[in-house]
Symmetry: C2
């Protein structure tokens, strides 16, 4: 039951919550031992803060919950491929696994030849279609 | 009087404040129209948060002060070359100018072939010796 698809659906719910605030719909959750310990969505407009990406908030929140800054034995689910900033934060966090919904060829870290921590497993393409559609539809409506 | 060296000395004072908290001594300030609008030092240990680099805090703080997320007409001074995470945040911020003290060949963004926003001017080597020494001395004492 607790598959990558299951948790990505929760991240997608976070992305949907972002839409209601007119934020670019990206959602993120962090799971430890099968439990969701952090959930967040993009809040850059609401907070007037370029650093308020879903992943950044989730990393801070999970570390706070765990009482330590390293996210060992944690899996982060994010609906859109992390940007350079978020990939750097993920590297520092030493998170065990990162599961990505849709790729972001222009802004994402993969095409910039950046890598996460050597111990971090990266999985892409989980609910890719839905994660991609939610962002594309958002920008279509704004045009 | 208000030269890059002048403001880098203020950033160095921030780095010194970090030492007292046993934090890696990196300091950062943001200047707009000759006024310091944000100052911060690394707080990753104190806050148990890998995202609490000096630059990240200064960016958030300056945006809060300005009431907008873009740091147009702002100059950021940082004692150590920004890492991948911080360079990503600086890109998003569209900050006008970044002045760097010491280079960080291993962790810094320059050797990763990353660049900031096309409009951002980057200056390196301001008070390089002092900015480098403060970090080296910190790690020497910890060994």
């Amino acid at each position: 039951m607790f598959t990558d698809e299951y948790f990505m659906r929760v991240a997608l719910q976070e992305a949907e919550a972002a839409i209601e605030k007119e934020e670019v719909p990206v959602g993120c959750i962090i799971v430890a031992n099968g439990r969701i310990i952090a959930r967040a969505h993009n809040l850059t407009e609401t907070l007037n803060d370029v650093t308020a990406h879903a992943e950044m908030q989730a990393i801070t929140s999970a570390a706070n919950y765990l009482g330590g800054k390293y996210l060992l034995n944690c899996t982060l689910y994010v609906t859109l491929e992390p940007c350079v900033m978020c990939s750097g934060a993920l590297s520092w966090s030493q998170v065990s696994k990162v599961v990505i919904g849709a790729r972001d060829p222009q802004r994402g870290f993969i095409n910039k030849n950046l890598s996460l921590h050597p111990k971090t497993e990266v999985v892409t393409g989980v609910l890719e279609q839905e994660c991609s559609t939610i962002v594309k539809d958002f920008f279509k409506r704004r045009r």
